[in-house]
């Protein structure tokens, strides 16, 4: 019998419904986001420092066109089952290492939906909001990061001998 996360789903996005995400769903999604730092060993970048920006993303994408709430709710449910059944370390590897879904027409199962519509966005959010420094420690800036200041105490990027 197929595991819950392997069940077939149409590739179309799931309907958002009328309700906002519950606290439990947000907590489950946050644990999924935190798992990115765990999987890629970017321990110098504390995901807690990204939480407000991540919440901003979640809120912004939970309304308007296209509304991701249906996918978020589904991802929270699938992630919970995976963690309960496989343990978190195994679930992390399964989602982030073993499941590659980069095109919409590949999103044909529950886990593929989670990866394509939610986890991939979380990865982009993680990188843009500071995760890039987990790979290149001295890097200062990245598209979407907006590091810097109105003031010129320090340059917004790594500089060299010539300025």
């Amino acid at each position: 019998m197929a595991e819950f996360w392997d069940e077939t789903l149409p590739v179309d996005m799931l309907a958002p419904g009328d309700q906002p995400l519950s606290r439990e769903e947000v907590d489950l999604l946050w644990s999924l986001f935190r798992a990115i730092a765990t999987h890629w060993e970017t321990e110098k970048i504390d995901p807690e420092l990204m939480r407000s920006r991540w919440l901003d993303m979640l809120e912004a994408r939970s309304s308007g066109q296209v509304d991701f709430r249906g996918e978020y709710r589904h991802a929270a449910a699938v992630w919970k089952v995976m963690v309960d059944k496989l343990t978190e370390p195994v679930a992390i590897t399964k989602l982030f290492a073993d499941t590659v879904v980069t095109k919409e027409d590949q999103a044909k199962s529950r886990i593929a939906h989670v990866k394509f519509y939610v986890a991939n966005d979380f990865i982009r959010c993680f990188v843009a909001k500071g995760g890039f420094r987990g790979f290149v420690e001295k890097a200062r800036n990245h598209t979407g990061f907006m590091g810097g200041s109105r003031f010129r105490e320090w340059p917004p990027v790594r500089t060299g001998d010539r300025r």
Binding site: D98, I123, V127, V136, S149, R150, P156, R162
Partner: protein, 524 residues
């Protein structure tokens, strides 16, 4: 239905905004109607910002020209011996192309105003650099331009309003190679309206840091003192209504009511970008002007020109520092090939490739690469690139004209015939320049990659309503008034007599401020 205004302005980009800025500064109660064919696209909008960061989707790409050959929706046609690229070259929305520009804000140089006299090619301006210099200063202030006074460029009385962005580590290394190869490195002057100090803000800015005409125009619209200042979006103008040597207003479509309306204006200013400015004149026929306004001598649409953007890329075997392009814009440039000595063969403006070196952490992660694999990629081969614009010269055989039908904004379709008289010679010049830039990269250990084919992009199109002294060789005079029509003005890149080697927006801004101030003074 009619309405009467002191000024009816067609278009809502940087030119329209800066003209309005001056008119309203002089008299806050001036009555102005701005008509924009496109709509307001989101700015300072969190959702749109996240859509860009997460899905790399921009809110303005839906406004781009559809130039897919053969389709019913095709809006623009290239028919010369050189393929003219329309795609992604202009934004048709409130704010115009400043909604997607990079903010590069360079002055033309003294010799650019005397191109014909100095080279026998192109055209002279009806005035010199010194006439425009104070307006360049004001434009730099209005746009919030950061730059370095010591860098190469035309004469300046003062420094830039804001300091230059420092070169990134990668650009710092490239700057050293520039010096060894006869290119004096400089800092790209960039317009950052509200002093943005960072990156991630270039394609689309959520905080209004990059100068956009929408931001600026909004500030003018929301000023309570400007009681007679109005803007309508979704209002394509199909013709200017003329009576002999005067215009009375414009005929436009009101998207709200579906009606065609006439907006009467004492003066009409066409600020609709190069393509639409010329097309509007051509479409505005009358018994006195059977081939279009200002077109008695068949000058409207001729001399179209733009910049060819050419590039060189190379790859070196390693990237020990894990460099990637932390800015999303180039801060390294050189004007050493933008000189009087180079003018006859076409000046060039050199700059760093904004996107290189590139490490796409997110893509690698989505592909399931492990930490170890990503670390190896980060330290592995590194790509770098240099690019340049090359100046081309206005040629009467090259022209923009009306194509049958209308496109998605209710504007006439576009046909551009662009050919080079001696393409082999032109491309030989480009190839030689590419070889020199490749030497630069080679000195830093980059092995040259295969070159790609280069085509002119329409981003910097100009020349089709060029300024001049005589109606048989130009469309507008030095005050941007259409020859033979006393109350019709064109203020867009269409009026530039030559393209020089650098981006035209700051020059257009200077012209717009000059026009707005002149009109305000004249009305006193």
């Amino acid at each position: 239905m009619t309405a009467a205004y002191d000024y009816v302005i067609v278009g809502s980009g940087v030119a329209a905004t800066l003209v309005c800025d001056r008119l309203l500064e002089a008299n806050p109660l001036t009555s102005i109607l701005v008509l924009e064919a496109g709509e307001r696209i989101p700015a300072r909008d969190r959702r749109s910002w996240w859509d860009l960061v997460l899905a790399k989707r921009t809110p303005y790409s839906i406004t781009y020209d559809d130039d897919k050959a053969g389709g019913e929706s095709q809006e623009s046609y290239s028919v010369g011996n050189v393929l003219w690229t329309f795609k992604e070259s202009r934004v048709r929305a409130y704010g115009g192309s400043t909604m997607h520009w990079g903010g590069w804000s360079l002055r033309f140089k003294e010799e650019d105003f005397e191109c014909r006299s100095r080279t026998g090619r192109g055209a002279d301006w009806p005035f010199g650099y010194s006439t425009l210099e104070p307006w360049y200063e004001l434009a730099e202030q209005k746009l919030g331009v950061g730059g370095a006074l010591k860098d190469e460029g035309p004469r300046r009385r003062w420094g830039y309003p804001l300091p230059a962005y420092p070169w990134s580590a990668h650009e710092s290394e490239l700057a050293g190679a520039f010096e060894k190869h006869g290119l004096k490195p400089g800092h790209m002057p960039i317009a950052r309206f509200k002093r943005c100090m960072t990156t991630g803000t270039c394609k689309y800015c959520p905080i209004g840091a990059r100068y956009s005409a929408q931001d600026h125009m909004d500030a003018l619209l929301y000023e309570p003192a400007h009681a007679n200042f109005h803007l309508k979006t979704g209002a394509p103008v199909r013709r200017i209504v003329a009576n002999r040597n005067r215009v009375n207003g414009v005929e436009y479509h009101d998207a709200m009511t579906g009606e065609w309306l006439v907006a009467q204006g004492a003066k009409v200013i066409v600020c609709a970008g190069t393509y639409e400015s010329a097309k509007l004149l051509l479409a505005s026929t009358s018994p006195e002007w059977p081939t279009g306004l200002g077109n008695r001598y068949d000058q409207v649409g001729r001399y179209i020109v733009t910049h060819l953007l050419f590039s060189v890329e190379g790859t070196r075997k390693d990237n020990p520092q894990g460099w990637f392009q932390e800015y999303d814009f180039p801060t390294l440039m050189s004007r050493s090939w933008d000189t009087p000595e180079k003018q006859a063969d076409g000046k060039m403006f050199v700059f760093n490739n904004r996107a290189l070196p590139k490490i796409e952490f997110d893509t690698l992660m989505m592909q399931g690469k492990s930490r170890k694999e990503i670390d190896e990629i980060v330290k592995g081969p590194r790509r770098a690139g240099l690019s340049a614009f090359v100046e081309e010269f206005g040629d009467p055989q090259n022209r923009l004209s009306l194509a049958p039908g209308t496109g998605k904004f209710g504007l006439p379709k576009t046909r551009i015939s662009f050919s080079r008289r001696n393409p082999a010679r032109f491309m030989a010049t480009v190839t030689a320049a590419q070889a020199k830039l490749a030497e630069c990269l080679a000195s830093l250990g980059y092995e040259r990659n295969e070159p790609t084919k280069e085509n002119p992009r329409g981003d910097h199109a100009s020349g089709v309503c060029r300024m001049g002294h005589s109606p048989d060789s130009s469309v507008t005079n030095g005050n941007l008034a259409v020859h033979g029509i006393e109350n019709l003005f064109v203020c867009s890149n269409a009026v530039l007599p030559n393209a020089a080697a650098v981006n035209p927006t700051l020059t257009l801004g200077a012209l717009a401020l000059r026009l707005g101030s002149w009109l305000a003074e004249e009305s006193r």
